[in-house]
Every structure is written in C-alpha cells, then in structure tokens.
Subunit: 663 residues, 2 copies
C-alpha cells in the first residue's frame, strides 16, 4: 500500500485566471481601481499592473546625473518615489493585483548604468512589499538576455530577497520565444543555481504571440520547474465557429500539461485602452477567462485516467507533490481509516478477484475444495474477493485468513459472525510464524509497496511459503521494480527545507505533480514466488540475504532532453496470476487504480544531464541478518561522451543509516 | 597582515619512512616480530605487513562452497579466522605496523564472487581494528580496475567504515603505472565522490617500478588530494658513485612536491627473504631510509624561498592548511604578541624603508623637511624605518605617528621616551577622524590583507587622505588583488567538518600545503592612492560605494589540468613606491616575506573542471552605507565547449550574511 498517513493534507492550489492589459499606463485616464473593476467584471481573478510609470526611471536617471557631477554616489538612500510616478498606490484587495517592475530595468543585458537599474528595482520591490502585494514580476529573461550578465542580476535578486522580510513571490518571466527552448532553460538554470535555494522565486512562462512548432517539447522542459504563472497572449487564440476565442488543438495539449503544474494563467490582452477592449468582434474579455476555466475543468487528473473521477478527487486532492514517508507495515499496525481508504480502490481488488478466479478455473477441482489462505487479511477485502471468485467459478474452496494486527482482527471476527460464517476460518498470527491447519493450494497476499518489494513482501512470503503446498500458487506470483530519472525542483526543495542531510536518504511516497520524467522507467529487479522447492527452508528463513539485490541501469536521453535529475521515480509491476497484471508503471498503469503513488528516491545534489549523456544508476537492496533491517542504497553517475566536467552523486543511505524497513 | 591569531596550533606531521618487503610471507620463517626488528634496525619508522595469509582466502572459499550446497548464505557471521591464517597476530608498538589487506580481494574488477571478497575484507579490517592498527591498506586501484565495479567497491568501503568505530585510516593504494595519470585520478574521484565525506579515507600513491616520462604532471595531479603515503619501489633508485641508492634528478623533483603533501614514504623492497636483503652490493636497507631523510631535510618550505629558514620554521610550523578567520583590524585591537610576530618579518619593513628612501630622494628637499605621517603606527616598526630611510638619504624629515589601539599606543610612548625623543610626534586617534597639525608629503600605512583590500585599506586611506597634501605620496600607492582556482580536498573537508553551510561563505587565511593551483592567478581589481583631487572628499567619506568592485575572470585549463575546484586562492601585489613592489603572488612573491598567507575563498560544492572547460569566476566587493560593513560575494561557473553537464556554484555570502568586515 502506498502509505497514506493520517496527516493534515496540504491544500491544493486551484488555478486562477488573470489579466494583463498591454495598455499605455502613463495615459492618466487609467487608474488601478478601474483596472481591477474591469478585470473583475470580465471574470478574472486577478490583474497584473506596472508598479511605477516610466517617469520614475527618468527622474532617477536625472538625479543620478546631478549626483555624479557633485561626486556623490547614488547608493545612499537619498531617493524615493514621487506619488505621481507610481501606478500602484493603494493596497488592493488581497491577491487581486500582482505588480510588474519597470520595463526600463535591464539587468539581464549590459546596461550603461547597472547601479541605476538596480536601485529602481530595489525601490519598486520595496514599495510592492510595503503594499503587501502577493507577488511581483521581475525583469524578464528573453533570448536577448546575456549569460554573462546573469550572475550580477542574480546577485541583485539575492540581495533584494534576503533583505526583504515579506512572503511576496518573486516571479521571473521567461520568454518561450525561441525555437529551441533549451536556451531559455539553460539561462534559468544558471540564474537559479546562482541564487541558491529561494522558495519565493518562481517562474512565469511567457508564450510567444503566435504558435511555433515544437511547443510540446518546449513545454515539457519546464514541467519540473517552480512555475507559478503562464502568460498567454490573446493573439494565440483563434475564433471558433461562434466567434469565441479558443486555443488551437496543439495549444490545448500544451495547456493540459501546464495546467497540472502552474497554478495561474494570465491573458495578455492587446494594446488598446481597456474600455474599447473586445476580441473577435463582439466577444468580451470574459470569453477568455471562461474558456480557460472550461479547459481546466476537462483536464484529467495526474498519473493515469481514473474510472471514477469522484473517487480520485475525494481521495487524492491535496496530495500533489506531498512527501510521505513510506509505511512500516511489519513494525507498525495500520489504522482503521487507512484500511478504509485503500479498500475503496475500485480496481485493485477487482484484479485480485480475476486472478483467484483464473487460478481456480485452472485447478478445476469440482469435488476436492481448493485451499486458499489469505495471509495479511486486514479487514477482509481479499476474503470477500476469494469468496466471490469461487462463486463465479462455481467451484468449492476452503478459506483461511490470517492477520497479525489485533485491531483489524476484531473487524475480521465481526465480518465472520455477520457475513462469512463457516465459509472462512480466521487466525490471529504473524504469517511468518503461523502454523496452518493444512497447506494451501493458493496463497493470496497484498504486501506490495510502490516499489514492489519495499514493504518487505519478499521476506514475508519467504516466511509464509511453508503454508503453501509444493507446486502451489502465490498471488502475486512475481513483481518487478522500475526506476526512472526525474526532475522536480519542488520535491527537491521540500526536502532541502528540512535542513537535514539525512532527509535526502529516504524514499518518499509522492503523488507527482510538478514532476518531469527524463527517461522511460527501466526494470531493476524481480521477485518470484514461491521460491523453488528446497529442503533448507527453515535454515533459509534465518537469513534474508537471498533477497538482497543489486542493479545497474543506464539511461540515455533523447535529443530534446536536458535537465536536472533531482531523484529517481520508483514504480512496480506485478503479475497476480498469468495475464492478470497490476501495475503503476506509467506506460501500463492499471486504469483507475489509486492505491499506490510512485516512490521518490531523492538525490542530495541534482545532476545536470544533457542529450549526449548517459546516466548510470546503481541501486542496492541490502539487509543485515543480525539487525532485522532491510534498506536501499542508491547513486547516480552521469557518463559524458567526452571527458567533460560532471557532477555525480554520493551513495545515498549507506548501511541504512537514514532509512530502513524493519522486519 | 595575515591574521595569525593566538590559537593553539595544530601539530605538523613530520614525514616518516616505512618499509614494505615484497617477500613470501607464507614461508613460515618470517614472523612479525623479526620483520619489525629488521625494519627498525634499518632505521625505518614503520613496516607494512599483510594481515592474513592466502590460506585464509582459500579456507573461506571452501567454506562457501560447502554452505552453498547446504543452501546457507555466507553473510551470516559463521566464519572467523584461524590463528594459523593470520600474519599479524599481536598488537605491535603503536604505529610501527600498517596492515595490508589480502591481494586475493578483487572488488575493483568483476569477480566471480563479490560476496566472498567482501566478507574477507570485512574480516581483515575488523581484525586490524581490533588490534588497534593505525592504518590499513585497502585493495588497490590500478589501470585494471573497472569503473563499473567501483560503485559496489565504494559501497562496501562505506559499510565497513561506518560500522567501525575506530580511528584507523583506510588507505587506498593508487598505482601511477599509467602513462596518463588522469585515468587513475578519474577513478579515484569517482570512488571518493561515491563514498562521500570520509576523513579516514586516504590515498597511497604507488610509483611504478621504473621511471616513465611525465612524472611531474602525474604527481601534480595529486597535490590537492588526501595523500597519506607514497610507495617507492626500490628499483627506482639508482646507485651513486659510492654505490649508495639515490633517486634520479627527475624523481628527486617529484619527491620534493610529494614531500610537501604526503606525510609518509614507504620503500618497496625487492622480493627476497629479509635476512639476505642488501642493495647495490654492500649498502644495507638503511641506505634507503637515510637517503629519504636526507632529501627531506633539503626541501624548501612552501610558498616561496625564505631567506631565513629558521625564522620561517619557528613562525610557520603548524600552520599548514590551517584555516584562520581573517582579522577584523578596524573593529578589534591587535594583541601585543600579534604585533611582535609580524614585526619580525625580515623583508616587509625593508621594502617599506626602500620605498620611503626613494620617495625622499625624489622629493630631494635638503632644507625644507619632508612631512611624513605614519597612520596606524602600531608599536612603531614603520616609524623606525622612516627614520632610517631619512638617515640613509641624509635628508631632513618631520615625522608624525598616529595609532588608534590604546595598548599599542603605550608602547609608542615608551619608544618615544627611550628611542625617538623629538624626532617623532605621536597621536592617539583613528586615522579616519584625526585632525593633523599639518598636511603630509608622504603618508605611510600598512593596512593590506592577504587579498589587498580585505582589511579595508581603501576605506581607511579614503578617510586618512585629508591629511595628505595635494600631490602627496601614499605608500603604498596601489595594490591589486589576484585570484586562482585551486584544489584542496583537505581544506574543503576542514570546512565541511563544521557542518554549517555558512562556513563556506568565509574567506580564510591559510598557509597552503595539500593544495594544487589549477591555473595562474588573474588580476581582479586595483586600488590607487591617493584618490584624484576632489572638492567633495568630506561628502564622499560618508559613502564607500566608490570602493565597490565587480570582476569577472575566465580561467582556461592546460591540456594536463583536470581536477576539482574547491575554491579560489587570493593574493595581492602592491606598489609601495615606483619600482618597490611587495607581493605574495606566487610568481613574484617577495622572497623571504612571511607576513601574509594566501586567502582561501571556498566553494561549497567542488566544481569538476577539465582541459576543455573554462571557469568563469565572478567576485564582488560590496558595501552597505547604512550598515558600515564591507564584504565579498563570489561564484564560479564552468563553461564547457559542448553543451554537457556541468555543476556551477551558488553566489556565496549574499548580502554579507556569513562574513563581513566592519568599518
């Protein structure tokens, strides 16, 4: 099971739609109040607006020229805005206005006077912070930005963020106006690495005025990054048959990807004064916001298509990118609420029922009842399914259920008294030490974790195997683990926020949201049950080193894949019986099944990979016989084609020092 | 001044000479006691000896075969050494024996049974640790070691080190038997990065049997690494005229480099039984140890050639690679002992005297005394030198000395009463606020730090400039700062040991030892004094932003330079007056001057650079007018020729958060 704990859930951000009118704000007809009113009338949730007028920059420059002739530096705090130079002068309803810094500021290029640009930026941000704005747009990074200027721009931003105590977001607009998005990403990557961990620094992706080929790959590049806004020029919209603005099919697809990762969308409205604003003849601006909301309501939830949208919503909302420590099912007892959540999975138990049904049919014993043992029966869902499978197959069974959790066992007793009666015999015991009244033809268990073996299914089944007849069937009969390199700034920063290196040595259960898979998952290893017959099973059960594993996987990156590897995404695929497969592998995820989110193995230092590189991932499943612990260790090594500079990882979690699963 | 604080000094390791006889240890004639006796009679400080005989490995293999047929895994602790399989069986005098693990262990290559090799290594190390050996030699890395096997080897070492509580050193022998040393280094770099911070893991460099070209570059590759031993095969020695073994001229040079960084040398003696051991006819083994000691005694101390070896020794011993926080000379008062140390510099004050002499001669005022102000006179050494210069020049001067430190001022009063009398007038004041009785022709100061301006000489001289006549002379008249990328695992680990990220944002004063400069130092910026005449000096003194600086340097690496950049080495070069230059820049270090060690700007994450790469280093000198602080920020960005994976640094010390110098 995926290890959902009963913790307070983080609230999910519902995408909002904003408006940024590209008007001439220095025309004195426009004021902030009318702008917000107009925007809100057109059903926008918020507006973007400039903080100061160009006149502020001009006055500052003049002041500087005077100072220079007098030999005084500008850095001294002798300058302040005059009221008439500010567009945003009042505190607006919380969240309804996001400030935009002056377009005169050129810190991303060689400017004639960096000090002047720095000062205006500092003053605008101080003002925005004073007013309590929730966010401020910084000078953008475009294809004209010069790499050699970014270190100094980063230094200025660092200085501003660290001297400001507010929780205002600093939003860096990045123009996707290049055909090769990788260059924009490289600049961003340089910038944010220079700035270091700054959770308040976000990205606004600015789409180009018109559609260009390759939008899908360009958008994919950003899915692991801390996006907060996507800016959509109105000119990208095309009229539908009724004349309402809609996005092209390709843009709709891009929207769907972005919707999962960016909480806010902003329409860049044409450069006309607001009152005359219309589009496509008679459609008002609200046609845009309505359309964005319409698109959003039709986007599938992440990971896979769910049969029942409602079930998923009620279950998963709030878990996006939320790090959960995996369960310790052998050491701890699950709570009743946890059982209840997982029993609701509409798909998982259906698959188990199919598997049992097919096994019964294959055994085809009409008169001699098939002995089924459900080991780890919990509150009984597998018992129900076994009974149902036998009923469908119209074949007789003899059913034993064993459970070690005393609380769950109370429920099992109630279920037996009320529902099952003589059809089931229940036992209160740990399956590893339980002595069964007779050996089973079929042993049914649900012990899998997100990574397959990470909740110690192999060790439990080795221990329980003695209750299975020679040649008996284990459901599941095998399971494999898969790993893929992935990028997610948000997950990495969530761990970094603990400020404790050992937190990077724990695999977490996560419902991925701001996550980009950088390659297809590759198989690491497989466990098969039952073990081949052996006379030494009693001896063997003392020592679990037979379940130790070591796997090396090499990932190649496609020509358009460049990014930071923040960790490894772990999945499992299990054969319950013959063709009945249960999987959370992204390419064949059992549709509608929600019991498992992927496992995230973090890397303490992200690794930058490029199309030419290969990433060699080593992972070990280790055990220490004396300490009754099982753990993973992992590392990743980039292999460049040439002898170029690389950064590799350390071996994480040596000797299980930060994380282990207790037997 | 270089900021030597009165802290307890770390003890310097005196190089020791060891012996490793390449004999057949399983011949029962040899025992440990006779080995140690023999070695000690030949004047060796310690011996290397195998921990177990090959029979141990054979017995273990046999045991494993038995277990496998019985289905029991070897990992269970069922195996232990038999006494007859061990060579080292007793605890020897502390430090006189270093254990060598079995040559049967092949963890660096694909072995038929990794588990077996791992188990023997674990057992040997457990035994060595039990006996309290100071160090143990691990299975070596050679040109035959396979890169893909190193992650698992590293995992085993990690496991062993972390499960062992002793302070035993784990010494990894690395064979320099390849023509291109870079491949050996790449393997080591992979290995240690996988292992992570392990201060107990050291390197033994094994030189090849015979000399090969390019030894100098091969040795240079390792100067920043944690070397503990150098293994010298006896076959590399050649007989001198008297038949005694000596090293070739090239090897002597290599020895000199290695002597500075590796504390122990080991002679690999030929494969004959010990008693018959002789070399070159009649010379005994002690000829080797004597020769190594002879060479060591003739090696120059680091950094530069010192005029007076004794002065340097008494001064610098114990400061090698010892991190010292720079002084805060404006905020704190120096202690008397600190003055005393620096006054002993045999070169620095000589240079000042020359500079004052030349300035006096240039002014050539036979009748009108030249006014000299010594600002920051300390306990008077510059006053002495000014008087001496005037005497030599036979020209009249009028001398004022000002000092802000009340304790130093007491000494100045005593000096005046006892030595100087009316030749000097002394003032107790901060030079920045002092009102002089008359303006000076020459202003003499000694305010430089290791990086030139890092003890705020620019700010002090701006403040003191008002006591200088228009057209007057400042000694020094300019100073420039220099930076070079450098590699030093030891320095990086010393900082990492604090376990506090902010410690990577402090520039340290260090006498470099296990340090490799990766490129020649490049100039960052220059300060010139006095400032050009200006009517606004009073205004200007309020604001120090004129002393802000920003520099970008690009370092290229020579074809044989590959390594990890752990930080930047900072130096200064100053013009005292005209051709009188005072410098700690490595290529023109003022001979014999010891007042300054270099400044080390660390990088929190090392950057791997290769011959094809360029390293772009950005450094800022910043000030905040309101907070009376000056600080540096720095970052390093590798630029690869192709779009390959790189790791860059963050901007260190943003806003002076971790380190600043108080005005």
């Amino acid at each position: 099971m995926a290890g959902i704990e009963n913790q307070p859930r983080p609230s999910i951000e519902v995408p909002k739609v904003g408006l940024y009118s590209q008007i001439d704000y220095s025309e004195k007809k426009v004021d902030l109040t009318s702008l917000v009113t107009e925007s809100s009338l057109s059903a926008f949730d918020f507006s973007l607006a400039p903080i100061s007028f160009p006149s502020a920059f001009e006055k500052l420059r003049e002041k500087q020229t005077q100072s220079q002739t007098r030999g005084i530096s500008l850095q001294t705090p002798i300058w302040t805005f005059e009221l008439e130079d500010l567009f945003i002068t009042i505190s607006t309803p919380s969240g309804s206005v996001v400030g935009v810094t002056s377009s005169s500021i050129k810190l991303d290029k060689e400017a004639s006077d960096v000090q002047l640009h720095t000062l205006l930026l500092q003053k605008e941000i101080e003002w925005a912070s004073h007013l309590g704005l929730k966010g401020v747009f910084l000078p953008p990074i475009t294809h004209e930005s010069k790499e050699e200027c970014l270190p100094n721009y980063a230094r200025v931003i660092n200085q501003i963020i660290s001297s400001n105590q507010s929780h205002m977001q600093y939003i860096l607009p990045i123009h996707l106006d290049e055909d090769v998005s990788i260059f924009a990403w490289k600049k961003w990557n340089l910038f944010r690495n220079l700035v270091g961990h700054q959770t308040l620094l976000k990205i606004a992706l600015v789409l180009s005025e018109s559609h260009r080929p390759g939008i899908k790959a360009r958008v994919a590049q950003w899915l692991g990054e801390p996006l907060s806004h996507v800016l959509l020029p109105a000119s990208r919209f095309i009229p539908n048959r009724k004349g309402y603005p809609v996005l092209s099919r390709v843009d709709q697809e891009a929207f769907r990807s972005l919707y999962m990762v960016a909480p806010h969308f902003v329409i860049l409205a044409p450069q006309k004064p607001l009152p005359q604003h219309t589009c496509n003849g008679d459609a008002s601006l609200s046609a845009y916001s309505d359309y964005i909301r319409h698109l959003a309501s039709n986007v599938d939830p992440p990971t896979c298509a769910f049969e029942s949208q409602k079930t998923f919503d009620s279950f998963a909302k709030g878990y996006s990118d939320y790090l959960q420590a995996p369960l310790q099912p052998l050491m701890d007892h699950l709570e009743s609420a946890t059982y209840e959540v997982f029993e609701k999975d509409p798909v998982k138990y259906q698959l188990y029922e199919q598997a049992v049904y097919k096994a019964l049919v294959d055994l085809n014993r009409a008169h001699d009842p098939v002995v089924i043992i459900v080991a780890g029966a919990g509150r009984g869902p597998l018992v129900d399914r076994c009974l149902k499978a036998a009923e469908t197959a119209e074949l007789p069974i003899k059913l034993y259920a064993v459970e070690k959790n005393p609380n769950a066992f109370v429920t099992l007793q109630r279920r037996k008294a009320q529902d099952w009666h003589d059809k089931v015999t229940i036992f209160f015991s740990d399956m590893r030490s339980w002595v069964a009244p007779e050996k089973a033809d079929i042993l049914v268990t649900e012990l899998l974790g997100s990574f397959g073996d990470n909740e110690l299914s192999p060790e439990c089944l080795d221990g329980a195997q003695k209750v299975l007849k020679d040649g008996g069937i284990s459901i599941p009969c095998d399971y494999s683990s898969y790993l893929a390199p992935m990028s997610s700034v948000r997950l990495h920063e969530s761990i970094a926020a603990y400020n404790e290196p050992s937190k990077f040595e724990i695999p977490y259960v996560v419902m991925f949201q701001q996550v980009r898979l950088l390659a297809d998952p590759a198989k690491t290893w497989t466990f098969t049950h039952p073990l081949p017959a052996s006379g030494d099973l009693v001896d063997a059960s003392i020592d679990n080193s037979r379940n130790d594993r070591y796997s090396v996987n090499r990932f190649k990156f496609t020509p358009d894949t460049e990014g930071l590897v923040h960790g490894l995404a772990g999945y499992f695929e299990a054969t319950l019986y013959k063709d009945v497969v249960m999987s959370i592998h992204p390419t064949n995820h059992s549709p509608g099944m929600f019991s498992w989110f992927p496992l995230f193995f973090p890397l303490s230092s992200p690794i930058h990979v490029t199309p030419g590189t290969q990433l060699e991932v080593h992972i070990w499943r280790c055990s220490a016989p004396s300490s009754k612990k099982v753990w993973y260790e992992w590392c990743a090594i980039p292999k460049a084609p040439l002898q170029t500079c690389t950064s590799q990882s350390v071996i994480h979690n040596p000797n299980g020092r930060s994380y282990w699963i207790g037997l």
